[in-house]
Symmetry: C2
């Protein structure tokens, strides 16, 4: 479903300071895979996820998604692919503070049928255990509840690929297990799931672990079947 | 150092919906303890930390901190105690987006000697592994790096008590171990450390685990010495 070759991303801080977030990453991902991305804090995992999710363009290298050379796509084609095919769970949640939980979840489907949209948003929130928090704003929710709203929003358009950046960082064991069961279920239906995690027991649910270090992929191994 | 009795906190949402975040919590904490607070997402851990850290007043119950009845303290006395005695690491980091890492860390000591303040902020950032990120703003830092800036800021005034809400939620194993070593070191020096965590191996570093469920304390046990 996607191929990255030599993907490089740097940030220039002031005159003489350059941060190399990605230094030539190669990655092949087939449809329906269930991959964990691990690595030290600052190693480039979120930057990698932003490139895969077409949220950020690399400075060098190629990225082919679903047969399209992403660098050559027009902005609105890119937005179309991103909105329909990719569900993104951000590390910082990125919920809109003035909208309620259900309004945040509805956002990706704003141009669709309103009745279906409300019903789908309700079901997405119920599936992450927030059936009794529809009308709370982010500041009226706990950290883990905000994280779960962000997960529900990513599921809204039933995307072909889910990119989740540390989706269980604020969740207790039981809530984490519920979220992993959702991702497992989507993967069983053929959806591609890529998850950044720092928790080994969360990564053990995946079928492949890609490890990053200093902006490069340091290892890429299948998870042994338990 | 502190005693909570019957602490209650509710949020009224609209006309007929009340959320009981804390339903009568009792807690005694002695100086120099090292306590983990665990429990399901939404069980009241952050609300409890906000009450302990004098950031939020309970609706009912009593809170005595260092011999003072917190409910009877004048606002500026409360702010004085909070600023000098308590270091708070927020679950959502709460960094000011327009300030650099070092400016965020300096904030708690703004009224002190500038030269000492800059030096202390530098050392706090170096101790959490961010010696090469002083001048980055939060949006120019990874999730785990932002979390570590929030930890460095809490250490700035060398407070007697550190309250850390999910301080390792975005950190890989090695960065987590470095942060836990800092908390362990502070506790060895006699500082009181209270940490919310959902990770059992992080809680195992503490000496006592308080578990919460539905706004109440469901268990309170010492950690068996390994
Ligand atoms: N400002 C608010 N208005 C309304 N409800 C709130 C508010 N803040 C918290 N709540 C509710 O109070 C309950 C306790 O919230 P709290 O943040 O203390 O939980 P928590 O244990 O820290 O959860 P997590 O592990 O997900 O961070 C939650 O169900 C939440 O929805
Ligand atoms: N906008 C930016 N400007 C400058 N540097 C940046 C920016 N965004 C990220 N960085 C730097 O690039 C490196 C990689 O960041 P990234 O967010 O991808 O790391 P990460 O692996 O997700 O870390 P974490 O596990 O802490 O979330 C970090 O060292 C960070 O400081
Ligand atoms: Mg990240
Ligand atoms: Mg919380």
């Amino acid at each position: 479903i996607l191929t990255l070759r030599g993907v490089t991303k740097s940030y220039r801080m002031g005159k003489e300071n350059i941060v190399h977030a990605l230094r030539g990453a190669d990655l092949d991902l087939a449809e329906g895979e269930f991959v964990a991305i691990m690595g030290p804090s600052g190693s480039g995992k979120s930057t990698m996820m932003n490139v895969i999710g077409c949220l950020d363009a690399p400075d060098d290298g190629t990225y082919v998604l679903d047969g399209h050379d992403v660098a050559k796509l027009k902005d609105d084609d890119l937005a179309e692919i991103r909105n329909r095919k990719i569900g993104f769970v951000f590390q910082g949640f990125n919920l809109l503070p003035r909208l309620t939980a259900i309004e945040n979840v509805e956002l990706p489907a704003l141009y669709g049928n309103p009745k279906q949209r409300k019903e789908r948003a309700r079901r997405a929130l119920e599936s992450v255990g927030l059936g009794d928090r529809f009308h709370h704003k982010p500041s009226e929710l706990s950290g883990g509840q905000q994280q779960r709203v962000a997960i529900a929003r990513a599921l809204m358009n039933e995307p072909a690929m889910i990119l989740a950046d540390e989706p269980t960082g604020n969740l207790d064991t039981r809530s984490s297990a519920e979220i992993l069961a959702i991702f497992q279920h989507l993967n069983d239906q053929g959806k591609t799931v890529v998850m950044v995690t720092h928790e080994p027991d969360v990564a053990a649910h995946c079928k492949r672990i890609v490890r990053m270090r200093d902006g490069r992929i340091s290892s890429d191994e299948p998870v042994p079947v338990q």
